[in-house]
Amino acid sequence: MSNTHVDLSKRHSEKPVFSSEKMAEVQGIISQYPEGKHKSAIIRILHIAEETFGGWLSIETMDYVAEVLNIEPIEVYEVATFYTMFNLEPTGKFVFEVCRTGPCMLVGSDQLIEHIESTLDIKVGETTKDGMFTLKTAECLGACGYGPMLQCGKKYHEHLTNEKVNELIAAYRSGELPK
């Protein structure tokens, strides 16, 4: 349960709107569900909206998704605040989510988190001054045999060591995204 209260001071200044290309993708997803069951598409569309509109879901974005799905805004707020993958506040350009549940803890996730904190000079939950990185922790990401690990966007980085994390940070900074 995310227990999230939406901070209304953080807004998008302009109304987010999908490009016609994105809209076609979104309509394609909606059409996967039977007539009248289009609300089922909400989670996937929120993922797309988050990716499209700056990596987080503002009130404006959620209202727009409600409009696209032809449902009440509250139905979108309910879902967006329940599922912890959704960012309800702006984040850095890259969000590192380090798994810290039992199996990753056993192989050194605590030390990895400390290393990233000192390297980026931020604490868990904070964003670097240049806006490049946000550090978060995550509960079990299903990589228990390949830890310690972190997720950044859709990518899992596994078998991490301090050196590998340093390389990863350098790669993200330089724009040469790791495959």
């Binding site: 349960m1 227990n3 996967q32 569900y33 039977p34 069951k37 609300k39 089922s40 598409a41 909400i42 989670i43 996937r44 929120l46 993922h47 139905e75 309910e78 879902v79 329940f82 599922y83 912890t84 993958m85 959704f86 810290r100 549940t101 039992g102 199996p103 803890m105 056993l106 192989v107 509960e139 079990c140 990401l141 299903g142 990589a143 228990c144 045999g145 390949y146 830890g147 997720q151 859709k154 990518k155 899992y156």
Partner: protein, 444 residues
């Protein structure tokens, strides 16, 4: 006993593509099922196979299928539970990533058996890249006539979709999964009615784990009786085990049920012992929800019998000296690890993942996390250890879904087997803040 049925071809280059998969014997079960069998005959084979749900509960799959209501004119749905989130478990991910067509093949045969014309794979949101792999494979299956209208000229129609979650462990509970698939918060439903009667959009629904559905493929290819010959007793077939923690060679292994735990941990074909030459301290054999076992109860039961990788043997001794096979999330602790710290991380996990609907779970998981946090950090007292047991009793059995039990049981087991370690954290407050109990013991 290395027996590979599901993962037989996992290392064949290109096995994720339709052509290579098909050349390696893929989609034979669809041809057999749709051309030569009736839906009831498929259900019968699955019942004969003795296959038990591979998601964790171990309920017989064929029996679950036989409960499905079939009112006239009402659609029925098959949902694949790919919301793999139980700490310690990463087997479904491996199967879907490596051999996506195996799951699709199983979905087609199973959907036909249940009379479903629209089926879904609900996958955890973090596995977004696997969703893409699956959708690519599904598109290939459509292009080759294995999905869509009139599959292989049989007159049977099936559409298969993939839907992502949003990072909620609770959506692995089948009614929460259904709520989520309907586009809502993942709050579990009261049962009855069971999904078999009233599931997705109020229609009869079956929810099965990825591995269970994949196992339908060899069951149909070789027959339920042949499948039942694999394994031991009521633990038939093979099981994918996710081996993690302090092992020399962690990873996903397919084992024949009945393999000895000793062989699995130390054998050359499997995990090759504890990492860095250390000693085994404890093991959680079936995912974070099942009881932890101290070293002396891992490879042997309390009666001194060899402990086997099976539903029955791992449960031997009940909650006093046994555990459960669960999802097959096999977590191993070396001698330097701290059980209190691990238990705290699990309590934090459950507090984070409680949907908040039932107060015993919402409040109880939060309190357990707080109490364990202060114990681990040298700020607890002896009374806290008993307090945890009290909170446990107030959660278990008092909630709509089993998340509350799943949160309570591992704490109870950790205290049962490692009480002195909890007490050490109370009596050595300063050291508890700076040192790990496991390391301390090792240096003594």
């Amino acid at each position: 006993m290395a027996r590979r049925i599901l993962l037989e071809h996992d290392n064949v280059p290109g096995i994720e593509t339709f052509d290579v998969y098909r050349k390696n014997g893929g989609y034979r079960s669809v041809e057999k099922a749709l051309k030569k069998m009736t839906p009831q005959e498929i259900v019968d084979e699955v019942q004969k196979s003795g296959l038990r749900g591979r998601g964790g509960a171990g309920f017989p799959t064929g029996m679950k299928w036989s409960f499905l209501a079939k009112p006239d004119g009402v659609p029925r749905y098959l949902l694949c539970n790919a919301d793999e989130s139980e700490p310690g478990t990463f087997k479904d991910r491996y199967l879907m990533e490596k051999i996506p067509h195996l799951l699709i093949e199983g979905m087609i045969v199973s959907s036909f058996a249940l009379g479903a014309n629209l089926s879904f794979i609900y996958i955890r949101g973090e596995y977004m890249w696997i969703l893409e792999i699956l959708e690519k494979a599904i598109a290939e299956a459509y292009a080759n006539g294995f999905l869509g209208k009139n599959i292989l000229g049989s007159g049977y129609d099936l559409d298969l979709r993939v839907a992502p979650g949003g990072g909620a462990y609770i959506c692995g509970e089948e009614t929460a999964l259904i709520e989520s698939l309907e586009g809502k918060r993942g709050n579990p439903r009261m049962k009855p009615p069971f999904p078999a009667v009233k599931g997705l959009w109020g229609c009869p629904t079956v929810v099965n784990n990825v591995e269970s559905i994949a196992a339908v493929v060899p069951i149909i290819n070789d027959g339920g009786d042949e499948y039942a010959k694999i394994g031991i007793g009521k633990s038939t077939g093979t099981k994918l085990i996710s081996a993690g923690g302090n092992l020399a060679r962690p990873g996903v292994y397919e084992i024949e049920l009945g393999l000895s735990v000793e062989e699995f941990i130390y054998g050359d074909d499997y995990c090759r012992g504890i990492a860095n030459g250390k000693k085994l301290k404890a093991c959680i054999p079936g995912g974070s929800s099942v009881p932890i076992l101290p070293a002396h109860l891992v490879t042997k039961t309390a009666e001194g019998l060899d402990r086997l990788m099976s539903y029955e043997s791992l449960a031997e001794g009940g909650f006093v000296s046994g555990s459960m096979l669960g999802s097959g999330g096999f977590i191993v602790f070396d001698e330097d690890q701290c059980v209190v710290r691990n238990t705290w991380t699990f309590a934090r996990f459950y507090a984070h993942e409680s949907c908040g609907q039932c107060s015993p779970c919402r409040e109880g998981t939060g309190w357990m996390e707080k109490v364990l946090n202060r114990l681990e950090h040298g700020q607890g007292n002896m009374r806290d250890i008993d307090l945890l047991a009290e909170i446990n009793k107030k959660i278990e059995g008092n909630t709509i879904c089993p998340l509350g039990d799943a949160a309570a049981w591992p704490v109870a087991a950790a205290i049962r087997h490692f009480r002195e370690e909890f007490e050490w954290h109370v009596t050595n407050k300063e050291e508890a803040q700076t040192r790990n109990y496991g390391l301390l013991k090792a240096s003594m």
